[in-house]
C-alpha cells in the first residue's frame, strides 16, 4: 500500500554521549517512523566526545541508511547537550527540525508523528514531548525552583524531544547570538509553543558521568542567573539590607556617643553589624561577577561551539 507521505523535509538532530548500547535501536526506530511518513529527511547525530563505541555503532549501520542522509558532527571536546544540539540545528536544512535530547526512547515511536502533527495542525511552532513522571530528584528540585522564580512566567519541565519549525529557529537566532539554554529561549521566543505529556514506558536508569554531572550543575546555575529573578531580588535585598545596617550602625554610634556614653561591648555589636553589611556587599559582588562572566560568554566569544569534524556517513 502506498501511503501519502509528507512533502515537508524534516531534519532529526540526535544527541549522542556514550550511547553505544542504545544508539542502534534508537536510530532503527527513528528511521522506521521517518521513512514511513516523509519523502525526504536527514538525520544528524551530534557526538559529544563519546568515550565508548557510539560513533562506530552509528557507522556500522551505514547499510541501513539507504533512503536517507546521516551525518555525524563530532564536537571538538565535551561541550554539553545545549551547545552540541545548537551545532546540530545550525547544520540542519529541514523545514521542520526534531531535537532528540536523548536516545533513550521511553515512549512509543508513534509519539514522534503525534508531535509533528500537533505542530502542523494546531499551528504550534514548537511542540515538546515531556514525560509525566520525573524520577531524578535533582531535576525535580531544579524545575520547581526555576518555575517559581522564572522571568516572563515561563514553566519548564524535563523534555525528551521536540519539534521546531524553521520559522521558530530563525526567530530564536534573531533574538540571541548564542543560546545558553534552549528550553528557556524557546519558551520565550514569542511564538506559539505547546507540550505533549506521555507516560514513560521504561524507567531511565542513572548513568554516572562526572563530566555530565558537573556540566549539569553549571548549566543549572547559569540558567537560574539568566532566566530567573532570584539573583536580582537577592542583590536588592542585600544592598538595602547593608544600607540599612550601616544607617543603623551610624544611629547607634550617635546614641552611644551623645546618649549612654559607655563602651566595650557596644563595639563588639557594632563590628558584627559591619561584618553583616560587608558580607552582603561581597555576595553582591560575586553575583555581579557571575553576570559579567555570562555576558562575556554570550557577547565576546567568536565561536559558539568548537567542532572537530562533520562527516556524512557513506553507504
Amino acid at each position: 500500500m502506498i501511503r501519502d507521505r509528507e512533502k515537508n523535509f524534516v531534519s532529526a538532530i540526535v544527541y549522542v554521549r556514550n550511547n553505544q548500547e542504545q544508539i542502534k535501536g534508537f536510530l532503527a526506530k527513528l528511521m522506521g517512523v521517518l521513512s514511513e511518513n516523509f519523502e525526504k529527511y536527514e538525520i544528524i547525530c551530534v557526538d559529544d566526545q563519546s568515550q565508548d563505541g557510539s560513533v562506530r555503532a552509528i557507522k556500522d549501520m551505514s547499510n541501513d541508511f539507504d533512503s536517507t542522509v546521516v551525518s555525524i558532527i563530532s564536537m571538538g571536546y565535551y561541550q554539553g547537550r545545549e551547545l552540541s544540539m545548537n551545532a546540530g540545528v545550525d547544520l540542519s536544512i529541514g523545514d521542520f527540525v526534531f531535537e532528540f535530547d536523548s536516545v533513550i526512547m521511553d515512549y512509543d515511536p508513534s509519539l514522534i508523528m503525534q508531535v509533528y502533527r500537533h505542530s502542523l495542525k494546531e499551528g504550534f511552532d514548537i511542540v515538546s514531548a515531556a514525560p509525566k513522571r520525573v524520577n531524578r530528584r535533582s531535576a525535580r528540585i531544579f524545575y520547581s525552583f526555576f518555575n517559581k522564580f522564572a522571568k516572563y512566567h515561563m514553566v519548564l519541565r524535563p523534555e525528551t524531544f521536540r519539534i521546531l519549525s524553521r520559522r521558530s529557529i530563525n526567530r530564536v537566532h534573531s533574538l540571541m547570538v548564542s543560546i545558553p539554554y534552549r528550553k528557556a529561549v524557546y519558551a520565550r521566543c514569542g511564538l506559539r509553543v505547546d507540550t505533549i505529556q506521555y507516560m514513560p514506558t521504561i524507567a531511565r536508569h542513572k548513568v554516572r558521568d562526572r563530566a555530565v554531572a558537573s556540566y549539569k550543575s553549571g548549566l543549572a546555575m547559569d540558567t537560574i542567573v539568566l532566566f530567573t529573578d532570584i539573583p536580582g531580588w537577592f542583590v536588592n535585598i542585600m544592598i538595602f539590607g547593608s544600607l540599612f545596617a550601616i544607617v543603623f550602625f551610624a544611629c547607634y554610634m550617635l546614641y552611644v556617643v551623645y546618649g549612654a556614653g559607655q563602651g566595650i561591648r557596644l563595639w563588639m555589636v557594632a563590628s558584627l553589624i559591619v561584618s553583616i553589611a560587608l558580607c552582603g556587599l561581597f555576595t553582591c559582588t560575586a553575583i555581579i561577577i557571575k553576570y559579567l562572566s555570562l555576558i562575556e560568554g554570550l557577547v565576546f566569544k567568536r565561536q559558539k561551539y568548537v567542532i572537530e569534524s562533520i562527516e556524512k556517513i557513506a553507504k
Partner: protein, 380 residues
Amino acid sequence: MQPDKKIRSYDKIVIGAGLYGLYAALKCGRMRQKVLVLEYDDGPFKRATYINQARIHMGYHYPRSYATAIKSAGYFERFCKEFDFCIHSGFKQVYATATNFSWTNAAQFRRFCAAAGIMCEDVDPNRYFNDGMCDGVFLTQEYTYDAIVLKESMLEWISKVPSVEIVYGARIASIRKADEHFELDVANEGTVASDFVLNATYASTNQLISRMGYEPFKIKYELCEMILCSAAGKLNDVGITVMDGPFFSIMPFGMTGIHSLTSVTFTPHKTSFETLPTFDCQKKSLGTCSPEQLGNCNECPSRPETAWEYMSHMARKFMKPEYSFDYISSMFSMKPILKASEIDDSRPTVIRRHSVNPTFISVLSGKINTVYDLDEVLTI
C-alpha cells in the same frame, strides 16, 4: 590478434578524450607527431570535463592552500585568453563564508585573497543571504567555460592536424611493455604501439595503472551528482558559492543560460576507499561497469536517485527567496580525490612518470585551467 596484421606505431598514445587527453594530442600533433587517442565512450568530453561545475578556477576555492590558489590564478589568465570563445564572464561571481561550520571566516578569506593577489570586494551579506547565515560576502572575478563549445573547437582544430587520430568506443584488450615500447591490443583496431603512453583517464587512472603493474595513486572515489537548474529571476546573472565547509554552490553553467548546483555534503552519493573504484551499484549496471573498468555514470542504468531535495533545501536555507531556481536534470560522474589533500583541501595536478624509455605517464587533476601542467611532460 591476427599474426599477419601489422603493428601500427605512433609517437604518442593518449588514453582518454577529455580536455587533458585532447589538449595533449593537439599539442603533440602540432609538433608533427603521430598521435593516437583511445576513448572508451562513443564521443569526447562525456565525463568529468563536461560533468562538473565548469568553473575556471582563480584560486578562491582553496583558502587553505596558497600553492593551489596561486597556481590557479596564474593559469586563469592564460586559459581565458586561449579559450575565450567558450568562456562566459558576464555574471557576478559571489563567494561567501558561512557563519557556522566554515573552516575559513571573513577576515581570513580577505587576507587570503590579498596574499594571493586576487579580487575580493566586500558586499552586504543581506543582499543575497538570509539574516545571520554568512559573515562575509565577496564579489570576485571568476568565469565559467562551456564544455560543449570547447569540445567543438578542439575537434575542429584536431581535424586540421592529420597526424592525430581518435578512436571512440575503444576497448583495450591488453596492454604490455615490449622492449622499447608499449603494445596495446585494441578490439577492432588490431595492435598499436608507442614509446610514449599518456594516461589521461581521470577516474579510471588506477585501473589502467594496475593493468601495467605500476604503483597506483592513493585516491578515494566519489560518485558525484551535479544538478542543472533554471534560474530565471534575480539569480540569472549571479553565481553564488558558500565555501569551505558543508555548503553549496550555484552558478552559471557555461554559455547554456542555466545554472549548475552542487553541494559538498550531497553531491557525493557514494564513496569508495579502495585502490580501484568499487561500488555496490556496479552489480546493477548490467555489466557496463566494474572495479576494473568504469562505465559512464551519467548513462548508467543504476544511476542513484537525485539529491535535489537535499541540495535545494540547503541553498534555500542560505539564499534569499528572490534568488529562486528550479530543477531541470541531474548529471553523474566519478571523481577521484587524492587522499593526501583532505587537510589543506589542495587540488594539485599530479603527474607521475611510471616508466621512462618507454615512457608511461599518468596525469591526475581536478581543474580545467591547470591543463598547462601537461606542457612540461609533452615537450620532452
